[in-house]
Symmetry: C2
Subunit: 231 residues, 2 copies
Amino acid sequence: MQESSPVGSKTTSAPETPLLARLRQMIVTGVVQPGDLLAETALAQDFEVSRTPIREALKQLEREGLVEVRARVGTFVRKPTQREIHEMFSLKEAFEGLAAGLLARRGEVPELEQLKENVARSRQAVERGDAELYSHLVHEFHSTLVAGADSRKLSEHYDLLMNQLAYHRIVSQTLSLPGRLQNSQDEHQAIIDAISSKDPLTAELVMRRHVNASSQSAALAALKEDEEHPG
Amino acid sequence: MQESSPVGSKTTSAPETPLLARLRQMIVTGVVQPGDLLAETALAQDFEVSRTPIREALKQLEREGLVEVRARVGTFVRKPTQREIHEMFSLKEAFEGLAAGLLARRGEVPELEQLKENVARSRQAVERGDAELYSHLVHEFHSTLVAGADSRKLSEHYDLLMNQLAYHRIVSQTLSLPGRLQNSQDEHQAIIDAISSKDPLTAELVMRRHVNASSQSAALAALKEDEEHPG
DNA sequence: TTACGATTTGTTGCATGCAAGAAATGCTAG
DNA sequence: CTAGCATTTCTTGCATGCAACAAATCGTAA
């Protein structure tokens, strides 16, 4: 265990391999679906590398909760349980509430401007009835808000969480929209107001109420979706 | 991308290898210190396995933020930056606040009894002036509280966080505790009271104030420590 | 037809060899 | 003595071979 030099960790660690990113993308976007087998040999051929780097990527995805590696059986795309989804929504509320509070403390930052623009564009999307665009903008709103908290550790945990929730999100999103659309829009505006007035406590409170309301309707939709297409 | 059977993820995924656990333990307990080189070949000989499983473990520890792998240079034990420590304390507050709220909603559960016993034992430790025992009990208090939230996902994120904070904890806690000893004890009691009366909002609020106060004290101690022994 | 056992197939786990590159070392010239 | 360059050493990255095991398949007997 010899000693050496580098103790001051730099600003950030090395960027992850493109291979890992591509595999993760395939899962969260639903290109491969829960239950599908991800065989190392097959992937190695597809990506034109050996099994070794594939293996490393799959191991990481296992830790991220996206796949399940069963020894000497295979690696399978994982589907979160209903309970896990519920737990993850609780965490989402905590993370985004924290982010809103931190952002409110920061004052005038570019992310705040981006949020305002986002709400403006969202309003147009609502008027036009463009559900797809609105969905995209909602996602962007939450991403921007967390990024605006300016906390790398928070972002890491948040990304980890949202990757596991992503597949679930895209299947339930469209279903949960209609009823909550206008409410959601109003809540976004309220969040921005609280942040703009540098009121961290209110910002967090309003944010958490918003996430909670969204989560409940999304969870409801997911449950319905799951009953129709079990397993 | 052929399809297959297992879609219902079981209660839990496979337990991690003992090798990974041992390596992680070496880092969080300070057996190897920030900046130390963890060479794959050397570790392979120590653990009497080939480089392959060592590699996998090190990669995972990199994902957990405990080591930094520099390509074709070496794998080094990582030391969080002051900023990262600050960010992690924010997350700790959010996690434990969430846990306190969830626990307060659960009513009578064994973990609540354990917390009460913990406070009782802590009081004795305070009277005896047993700082080491008290330090241990403080850690146990927080662990039990999070476990009592009964959320696997929360626990996963919390463990991930605390592993990165562990080394920092053992070097700074002994310094930061003495001054806050009685305060900390009172706050623990207040947290239990709120949980016992099934008041989630108060439980979370009190918990967060407690974590915040402890964190500030710890961060201060760490800063002082760091000035004397710069990384 | 059905139940059951042997065999075949498919998968991951691990060991090992080699190459690429970074860093330390030593050597040489001034 | 110092600076700079060549060389050596040490490290990880990747490819590949083989073993262990699980599961599916096929054949056989009742």
